[in-house]
């Protein structure tokens, strides 16, 4: 039987999730995800043809307002692990 969740899928999902998994964690994730997806297959019993996917229970639409700055820059930056000249500082990326 072919594996439902292959090592390649775990690798790919890890990249999407920006998570670095150890060998043991990958094994566990493979096992957990397979088990959960097997259970989620239950939804396939349901005939959902013609059913509109419902993301929100109430008809909501975009709400617009003026973008007014209410928090102080210093307060926003206070939590940054690294900062410089009023900016968030990150490792060199280019």
């Amino acid at each position: 039987m072919t594996e439902r969740i292959t090592d390649e899928i775990i690798e790919y999902v890890g990249i999407l999730a920006k998570l670095e998994l150890s060998g043991e964690e990958k094994k566990q994730a493979k096992q957990d995800m397979t088990r959960m997806l097997d259970y989620m297959d239950k939804l396939n019993e349901l005939d959902t043809d013609g059913v509109e996917p419902m993301s929100h229970v109430f008809p909501v639409s975009n709400v617009f307002r003026e973008d007014v700055i209410v928090e102080e820059e210093a307060e926003i930056l206070a939590n940054a692990p690294a900062k410089k000249d009023g900016c968030f500082m990150v490792p060199k990326s280019v």
Partner: protein, 496 residues
């Protein structure tokens, strides 16, 4: 006088009548914490000096007649995923260790405007992902009814703090039952409002389309009173709903004459503990005696709620938690090579196992090639579940169900089998998918002495109907304190 034994409303009356000072109330809360925190660990962070300072300010405002509401001066505990300016907010995660929110959540702001005094932030499952408060990065919380058992989750700290009389009331959040299930396990009353009723501004998001903040307290009167204060339209939350009526306390009537109550037959199935079943059906009988019309019916689709929920919640979580990357706040890995490595190491070191599990699952169901098969399928299932509730509320005013299939499990039993833990959410999860309000009210104890909660569900915007039914039932029973408080730990300690 045992101030913390009082309900929030009863304490509020004494404060208003100047029988006690706000400082005395806050000191009473801290005194109780001093005697039980070591045993229970309801709180992640407390700040006595700040709370006492605030108490004196509130007292002055009360003296000046500027604060006259029912919660003025009353000590409140806030779940640690709700932002409080100048007070650490961690979501019980290592990744938010030391995070000081630059703003306060709207729900807390409204409590502050009403004069409540925040005494601390309560423990929870990391990012509200869990049903036992065992996934907290800062240690577990214990059930005050029996410390070998979990308090439930994810608002386990808030429910424990209320049950153990460390605060007068608390705020929790409910994405799949996180207010109602721990309320049931801890013998307190917890209400999840209709989606959009309480602003989510400042609530650190888990599943944005499901999350709601709600009150946890000793009784229904407190919950209605707190909801009156925290429920309001907020332009800072784009899903906030502008409701026509908010006066929830007007529903506190011992009158269920003619109320149509539906009992979903498909909720009373295998896996439901017989003692829980008996206690919950007893509530139906009590309400019938008071004039309600009780009927059994088939809700349908019950077994599809859990898979649909875990797909939707995990998908939203994987997106919402993308913001924790070690740049703007919280934890950053110490060693890394370049930006991407920093992201990955920060997140891998900062998130706990259950959070990673849900982020991975969420990333998978949203990924190209699987999106339609899982995520869209779940949203279609959600539409069908909503239709099933619409149909049910065409016949009944409220639905009556257990809050959880069992009483509180022993510590250490749930995390080894996450699937089993997810199945425990069967009675609470649908309300979040359908957006409807639900309340859990204590209705008895099992043979081990652990509390059982009954859950009353109403149609969207029908909080008043469930408040009325819950209040009517409560009149037959009254509040039962946990043995820890009944025996009076604080008094025992005073004599040592």
């Amino acid at each position: 006088m045992e101030l913390m034994q009082l309900t929030a409303v009863a304490l509020g009356k004494k404060l208003k009548a100047r029988e006690v000072s706000v400082r005395e109330a806050v000191e009473a809360a801290y005194k109780q914490m001093d005697s039980v925190e070591e045993m229970l660990h309801s709180f992640v962070t407390t700040d006595k000096d700040a709370a006492l300072k605030r108490a004196d300010q509130v007292q002055s405002l009360m003296m000046e007649g500027k604060l006259t509401g029912p919660l003025a001066g009353v000590p409140v505990a806030v779940k640690d995923n709700i932002c409080t300016k100048g007070f650490p907010t961690t979501c019980s995660s290592k990744i938010l260790e030391g995070f000081m929110p630059p703003y306060t959540a709207e729900a807390v702001n409204r409590l502050l405007q009403a004069g409540a005094v925040v005494i601390g932030k309560t423990n929870m499952d990391e990012f509200a992902m869990g049903s036992t408060t065992e996934t907290s990065a800062y240690g577990i919380t214990r059930n005050p009814w029996n410390t070998a058992h979990v308090p439930g989750g994810s608002s386990g700290g808030s429910c424990t703090a209320v049950a153990a009389e460390e605060c007068s009331f608390a705020l929790g959040s409910d994405t799949g039952g996180s207010i109602r299930q721990p309320s049931s396990f801890c013998g307190v009353t917890g209400l999840k409002p209709t989606y959009g009723t309480v602003s989510r501004y400042g609530l650190i998001a888990y599943g944005s389309s499901l999350d709601q903040i709600g009150p946890i307290a000793k009784d229904v009167t407190d919950c209605a009173t707190i909801l009156d204060v925290i429920a309001a339209h907020d332009s800072k939350d784009s899903t906030s709903v502008k409701r026509e009526h908010y006066d929830f306390t007007s529903a506190l009537m011992d009158d269920v004459e003619g109320l149509r109550i539906g009992i979903p037959r498909d909720y009373f199935i295998d896996g439901l503990d017989h003692e829980v079943k008996r206690a919950v059906l007893f509530v139906a009988e009590e309400l019938r005696k008071k004039g309600a019309v009780v009927e059994e019916f088939d809700l349908s689709l019950v077994e599809y709620a859990i898979p649909a929920y875990y797909i939707i919640a995990s998908a939203e979580a994987s997106s919402n938690l993308a913001r924790f990357d070690g740049v703007k706040y919280g934890y950053r890995a110490k060693e890394y090579e370049g930006l991407h490595d920093m992201y990955k190491k920060t997140r891998s070191e900062g998130f706990g196992q259950e959070v990673k599990r849900r982020i991975l699952l969420g990333s998978f169901v949203l990924s190209s090639g699987y999106y339609d098969a899982y995520y869209i399928k779940a949203l279609k299932t959600k539409a069908l579940i909503k239709q099933a509730f619409d149909k049910a509320f065409g016949h009944y005013d409220i639905l009556l169900a257990p809050a959880a299939p069992t009483t509180a499990p022993e510590i250490g039993r749930s995390l080894s089998d996450p699937m089993q833990m997810y199945l425990g959410d069967i009675y609470t999860i649908s309300a979040n998918l359908a957006g409807i309000p639900g309340i859990s009210v204590p209705c008895g104890t099992d043979s081990k002495g652990l509390p059982i909660g009954v859950q009353l569900l109403g149609d969207c915007f029908q909080e008043k109907t469930i408040i009325r039914a819950a209040y009517a039932f409560e009149q037959t029973r009254g509040y039962q304190r946990c043995p820890l408080c009944e025996k009076g730990v604080s008094r025992v300690e005073e004599t040592i």
